[in-house]
Amino acid sequence: MDNLQYIREHFDQLQATDAKSGLQAIRKKAFDSFNRLGIPVKHEEWKYTRISPLFNKEYKLSQEATSVSWKELEEVRLPGFEQATELVFVNGTFSFPLSTVRSNQILIMPLEEATKSEYREIVSKHLGHSSKYQKDGINALNTAFVKDGVFIFARKGQNVEQPIYIYNITDSRSGNVLSQPRSLVYVSENAQVQIVESYTTLGLDESFTNQVLEIIVDKDARLEYYKIQNDSAHTNQVSTTHIRQIAKSYTHTVTISLNGGIIRNNLNLVLDAEYCEGHLYGLYLQKGQTHVDNHTVVDNVKPNCFSNELYKGIIDGKATGVFNGKIFVQPQAQKTNAYQSNKNILLSDDASVNAKPQLEIFADDVKCSHGCTVGRLNEEGLFYLQSRGIPSNIARSLLLHAFATDVLEHIRPEPIREYVNRLISERLEFDGHD
């Protein structure tokens, strides 16, 4: 059966069976958008990342959490989980039984339930805000099927001690799966929260994860968000993280892409109030055929905001990297300070990167800068280390790890930082041997 036909049928079925849902209207609107926009084919924002071929395959659009056992969950867990709130999605559906909430400073509620709770106004106001920035059918497709997502609410004035770990599990053991996790996070006034997300596919069939996470950051709140992508080569994903700072606040994000098939990250940072501060870091360490596309948008809507962005790439094999960093400074956003830097090392002749910084400035009293480099491994540095008795494969690994350090050091939860550093060391030393 044709995939789009299947999606349409599935949508009708969802709307019919879930008729009383508070999410009916938003789904309908998004589905209309999806029908209008379709899967991006000749789309400027998708120039270097072709995802339409992925839709030639048949996927199961599962809405049911299939059976993932506790034992399987053990394999997925991130270090430090004993002191973390763990939220588990299976095939895009939030699983309460597999999740463990270890904090009363936050509230975790199914999105559906939130539409009928005291938080309904927050949900109706903020859910779907990302569509203003992701004007393509992919984002609409996620929203059209929003049902079993989760609402995360960090309570006012709470410095949430336990980080929130979100495990996105795709179970492709019996056929290709399209999974569409969806969450809405609200960081209340004076609250602080750390979120760490990972992606794991169980099974050998193809998986395609189309995720949307929307985060609202209120007055004097602090958000740290870490994304760790280390899935297998037969998995693809479009991961949209939409952060909106609605009052003077602080955000800090680190995106680490180590493995996968096609990875497209959309990271939007909307500085929608005066004196907001945002930091964006990213590292893509690629080999094989992996394709990683980081599309970032920093939208300075109000005056006096500060943002700093640093993305680094190490690309080997036949892998391709894409960095597209947009900074908008709206007419009223005077005194904006916005910085952006993208640095890449290509390790093979077949590796490539497409880097595109894009500044659109409509105010006149601003400080903005961007820079981009693409180079090779520092040969003189390699000789220096070798001349001290360090074998070339280890010297190479040390140099590449050193290159990544000024991104990695921004991963603040220690168990996660150590974990990522270990993954990278093992990977670089192993690659140095072949």
């Binding site: 220096y384 280390l385 001290r388 070339s392």
Partner: protein, 254 residues
């Protein structure tokens, strides 16, 4: 310890060394002096195994092994050390971590056990005191933002940690003021003993006021044209390299 016989080497098609002969024994300090472009740094690079240099002829024997057959890391393992003229800055690599890796890789090469954290720290503290180097410097990224003097002190500190048999100091005095030269030279002198050797490559005589050579060799057009004692260095300082050039010219005329 080191025997260089009729060494011819160059980079790409350019011949730089035209038949070097040199013998260094344990316990000796040798200085190689010469005008710019005479091949001093090329000799240091060829000995340490820098890529892109081609050896056309000749041999180098180091402690009974064919040095030219070894990779740069193997040469270090055998006990060769090159103090760089321009130590490389590597942001993101901590100096301590770098030295620890180097010490343990060399130990591994020699079939020795790795030093554990405690033993390494002990060794480092001992050498820090000897070299009068600050902990703060070692916790920074390797050479990043170091002053010229700090970079050269770091080179000599690495030498202290790795305890080479033969240390080659490539223009270690370049860019240093007289106080920094004294500190670096004192470091080298403290490490000097009857079992190791030092080869000082320099343009100026002033470093040799502090590291006293047993032999001074003058390199010109890729050959050693004159060998003497430390007095030869004074003579060069006084008369300039032109007198060597004219002597060589006379020899050719004759």
């Amino acid at each position: 310890m080191l025997t260089i016989r009729n060494l011819h080497a160059g980079i790409e098609d350019k011949k730089i060394l035209n038949g070097i002969n040199l013998e260094i024994k344990a316990g000796e300090v040798h200085a190689i002096m010469g005008p710019n472009g005479s091949g001093k740094s090329t000799l240091a690079s060829v000995l340490a195994g820098r890529e892109n240099y081609e050896v056309a002829e000749g041999s180098v024997e180091f402690l009974g092994k064919d040095l030219l057959e070894l990779s740069p890391e193997e040469r270090a393992g055998e006990g060769l050390f090159l103090a760089f003229q321009y130590p490389v800055e590597i942001p993101g690599l901590s100096t301590t971590n770098f030295i620890k890796t180097a010490v343990n890789e060399i130990r591994k090469y020699r079939g020795q056990e790795s030093l554990d954290a405690v033993a390494f720290l002990k060794l480092m503290k001992e050498k820090m005191a000897l070299m009068n180097i600050d902990q703060a410097l070692l916790s920074r990224s390797l050479n990043e933002g170091f002053s010229g003097g700090e970079k050269k002190r770091n080179e000599i500190f690495q030498m202290a940690m790795l305890q080479p048999k033969l240390a080659i100091l490539d223009e270690t005095d370049s860019g240093l003021d007289i106080d920094a030269i004294r500190i670096v030279a004192n470091g080298v002198n403290k490490l000097k003993n009857k079992d190791n050797a030092v080869l000082v490559v320099t343009h100026y005589q002033r470093l040799l006021d502090y590291i006293i050579p047993d032999f001074v060799h003058v390199l010109y057009n890729g050959r050693i044209v004159k060998t003497g004692t430390k007095d030869l260095a004074f003579e060069l300082e006084e008369k300039g390299y032109d007198f060597i050039k004219s002597e060589v010219a006379e020899e050719v005329d004759r």
